[in-house]
Amino acid sequence: MSQTITAAHSAAIDALHTAYLAALDKGDMAAWASTFAADNARYFCISAENDHRGLPLALMYDDCRGRIDDRVSFVTKVWVGTYEPYRTRHFIQRLSCEAAGNNQYRLTSGFTIMMSAEGGTTAVLTSGEYRDLIEIQGDGDKFRAVFRERRAVYDADVLPRYIVFPF
């Protein structure tokens, strides 16, 4: 881990990760979107197969802030009543953290997502790696970390079900 990160920034980054996981595990899409920078942010969810082969197509391809907000609408307005509900539990382990200048850090973390279908058992949805560009915003004692970019690269060559929520 890079020595240039301060304890305060590290804590802010931990808080961001926690907020992200808590939002998804509660199914709170608005809270999920609020972990991204308000002005300019990107979220991608892509298979490791596509990623390794340099194939750009993703499962979710939100390359601007508007698309992130539209994904919230997909889940909360468009798809309501059609899909079989499921809950998730996300677990992450930080793998690397490097300063990228301008109060930004590049991080990688391993993730595991457990899923519990309503009326069903708990199973692994997939595992994977988050590749993040995180920015510390604000100054003095008041600052927070936000995602400029989160790229969730999932391990499963074949997903075990259709997907409603971001990874």
Partner: protein, 402 residues
């Protein structure tokens, strides 16, 4: 009819196939023994099956593995640029030859006894062959090739002995729509995959993928997205369905923050939506600027795996390629704004199909005794000729039929 497979199913389910043409017995979705018969009669029988497109293996040495039912296939582009399909097994003791889903090789090597095969399937090395059986001849042990044919780069295979030629199998109404769906000439560029398993019988998947009434899709209403009325739906007697519809541009009513996602950049100005559904299990879609081939694998009576493969055209501008990537990633597929709902239906309908009774078709039914061949754009009766073909192929007798 020569373009039909023929079966002689003598199993128990369904007890009775109803005389009314708009009723499908739900028993055909949940029967493991019937699935074994379907493998023999349809998937390993006298039918053509789509297993890939040339654009997935663009360079010499590129390969892709795929399954037809439970049979592992190895699709390889040889040195003469010819694409061949082999059984993915060493000709020695039967070990699975290639384990990767795709890649590029100079040759294929079986690790068990180091038998080596060329990209064209010839056995080029087999250590210790001096001590092999007296009748061993190296030239007789090349990879087993599966009979294949292509249409604009689409790779079809068949394991049947009496499969009609591909042109006959496709018939007259499929090629025009399929050509335009494939960019006019099939010169495609692979953009990537979305792969998923559905807890659904392959027939339930196929019956509800492709075109269906737009009522399921809330997005169409929220976006005030109107389909045109000049489209058509045509079927062949051997179970294919071809659909074309006009898509009007959406009027941005403020529902989406990023309307560029649903923009139509006019890669095919005459029609917005084209769907070609080939018996038994393949659905191909050109929707807005998306070119999406869905390679389906019938894994069991309960599980269907679908590889959604997305393409651009070789001549596309960079801007159009980028647009196709955004649209393909976000609109169709197992998490797409439109198709996630379809995916939910595949699984829910499979659960519902475990109950007694029939799947009932209503919209567009004008006769209970005659399978409709002339249907309107929004009729659900477009599925019935495929069911009739399936019934005959599998040898199910209708109630009252001798």
């Amino acid at each position: 009819m020569s373009s039909q497979c023929t079966g002689n199913y003598t199993g128990k389910a369904p007890a009775v196939w109803p005389a009314k043409v708009n009723q499908i017995p739900k028993e055909v979705f949940g029967d493991a023994a019937l699935f074994e018969e379907e493998l023999k009669t349809i998937f390993y029988g006298d039918c053509w099956h789509i297993v890939g497109h040339f654009a997935e293996v663009p360079n010499v040495g590129d390969f892709k593995t795929f399954d037809l039912g439970r049979v592992p296939l190895l699709i390889s582009r040889g040195k003469n640029n010819q694409v061949r399909v082999f059984y993915n097994t060493c000709t020695h003791r039967g070990n699975q030859l290639e384990v990767a889903t795709s890649g590029n090789r100079k040759e294929f090597e079986c690790p068990y006894h180091r038998w080596l095969f060329s990209l064209e399937g010839a056995l080029t090395a087999c250590p210790g062959s001096k001590e092999f059986a007296p009748d061993f001849k190296q030239e007789n042990f090349g990879l087993m090739e599966v009979k294949s044919a292509q249409f604009m780069g689409l790779i079809f295979v068949t394991m049947g002995k009496n499969t009609p030629p591909l042109t006959e199998w496709l018939g007259e109404i499929v090629p025009p729509t399929l050509s335009t769906l494939l960019g006019g000439d099939g010169r495609l560029k692979l953009l990537g995959y979305q792969k998923v398993r559905y807890d659904s019988n392959w027939k339930g998947y196929n019956d509800n993928d492709g075109y269906h009434a737009p009522m399921l899709h809330t997005a169409f209403r929220l976006l005030n997205w109107q389909g045109g009325t000049t489209g058509f739906q045509r079927m062949t007697k051997n179970g294919h369905v071809v659909f074309e519809a006009e898509l009007k541009a959406i009027q941005n009513n403020g529902f989406v923050n990023d309307p560029s996602l649903v923009e139509f950049k006019g890669s095919d100005p005459a029609r917005g939506s084209r769907i070609v559904q080939l018996f038994p299990a393949t659905v191909m879609v050109k929707h807005l600027d998306i070119i999406n081939l869905r390679f389906a694998i019938a894994r069991s009576h309960d599980v269907t795996e679908v590889h959604y493969a997305y393409f651009a055209h070789e001549d596309d501008s960079e801007e159009l390629v980028q647009h196709r990537i955004r649209q393909g990633s976000n609109l169709l597929g197992p998490c797409g704004m439109i198709s996630m709902e379809d995916a939910a239906i595949f699984q829910r309908i499979h659960i519902g199909n475990q109950t007694p009774g029939f799947a009932e078709f209503q919209k567009g039914v004008t006769s209970l005794m005659e399978v409709p061949m002339d249907v309107k754009q929004n009729d659900e009766t477009g599925n019935l000729p495929r069911w009739e073909h399936y019934r005959k192929v599998m040898g199910f007798k209708r109630e009252g039929e001798k």
